[in-house]
């Protein structure tokens, strides 16, 4: 399973590096979201800085949708999805590989957005360990959920509109917990983030487990 996961993740990342969709589209989209929040809330950093955590995670959330859609667009071109099924790869390995590749892209994006909220919103980046831990656990949760619902949506003609509808309600707890954990870290009280980090870890583990089990049947039914 892990061997197959590495193979699929390597393939997806190679395609992303070569196509530069993440660099040229997802990244600029996320930065544009941050800028638009800034325009909507006004230039006052007294308002923006306290909202940094929430705005950061909303930008990550919206970017996750694009990254997941892109990940499955690769498989829908030239019936590559059937090719993937025919390959005999372990479906759990495919799930972990695709989720892993999306997670790597999101973590790079989050590093850039962290600098963005510091520069644009004047967020003070304290509690680095909590920030990193929340990003790691939150990203795993988002990508596991996104990859799972992505395979459901990718088999349907309404995939572009269906994925956000499926994805956003389910990730609400991840958004809440990640925002609270970041809020605590940015406020200089990282000790108060512990419970929220636990929630993020539980979601990441739960949906990774569900994904490894459910991905195969969903891939076949799509």
């Amino acid at each position: 399973m892990l061997r197959d996961a590495m193979l699929v993740a390597g393939k997806d990342l190679r395609i992303e590096i070569r196509s530069r969709v993440g660099l040229n589209q997802v990244g600029p989209f996320a930065v544009a979201v941050l800028l638009l929040f800034g325009l909507a809330l006004g230039p006052d950093r007294q308002v923006l800085a306290p909202a940094s955590a929430g705005l950061f995670w909303v930008a990550v959330l919206l970017s996750t949708i694009l990254a997941v859609q892109r990940s499955y667009a690769i498989e829908s071109a030239d019936a590559a999805r059937d090719g993937l099924r025919l390959s005999g790869l372990d479906p759990a390995g495919i799930f972990l590989g695709k989720a892993g590749a999306i997670a790597v892209q999101l973590l790079v994006l989050e590093a850039a957005l962290t600098i963005g909220v510091a520069l644009l919103y004047g967020a003070h980046l304290s509690g680095a360990l909590v920030l990193v831990a929340a990003c790691a656990a939150g990203t795993l949760g988002l990508t596991a959920i996104g990859t799972l619902y992505g395979v459901v949506a990718s088999g349907l003609q309404t995939r572009e509109t269906l994925l956000p509808l499926l994805f956003l309600p389910v990730v609400a707890p991840v958004l809440l917990a990640a925002t609270k954990a970041w809020d605590a870290a940015l406020a200089g009280t990282p000790g108060r983030a512990g419970g929220w980090l636990d929630v993020l870890v539980v979601f990441a583990v739960l949906y990774t487990a569900i994904g490894t089990i459910a991905f195969g049947p969903l891939l076949e039914d799509g």
Partner: protein, 257 residues
Amino acid sequence: MVPISMAPAVRLHEAVALAGRFPLLAGASLEVAEGEVVHLRGPNGAGKTSLLKVLAGLLEVHSGEAIVLGRDLVADRRAVRREVGMLGHQSFLYEELTVEENVRFAVRATRGALTGVRPALEQLGFAGRLASTTVGRCSAGQQRRAAIAVLVARGARLWLLDEPHAGLDQEGRDLLDELLAGSRVAGRTVVFASHEHERAEAIADRVVHLAGGRVIESTEPAGTTAPAQTAEPNERLAPAEQQPTSLPVPEAPAHVA
């Protein structure tokens, strides 16, 4: 003529495959011996593509029996996939990867030996820089060749080909025919659908005629004087009226050409 093993590579008995409630296969029965090259023939919507997809484990068998390379597809249709190579209307390739990367990915996915990648690429005309070209930059014919290179490099025991000559130039077509003849020597089994009957029957050991999602007849290729490989009327030569009639014979939908 190379001797053909009597062990069946494919055994379908009254196999039914559905798309929703629509029968793509409406009780198809077919046996293919190991090493045999079988040409599927029939009008659009006859069920040729559906039959190939069933044999590849891509379509679920709703009822009946389907055993491919000793694996029961009714119990587990994923089990056979590593041993089956399919060339469909699409190439199943990633446009952003090079030809060689695509072949290597397919071989590694099926736990095959990477030593077969280079020879397969060279055999299909991908020497030098062409192998390092992304598939998206290749012509349609080159993409078709790349997909065939995947089949060769994977060393699949059963080749399922849907209009394999489509998109290939004359040289590519001749090369494919050589490969099919070679796979017969290697003991690989080939089931292919083609509307190019003359070319197809020059390669095939047997022609299987489909209509309405059923096998209606099995004949020798035109111009062949050797005895037919088929012998059991109820399995391989069953006329339509002897097939189960519990399901309606489908008309020809565009998506199951």
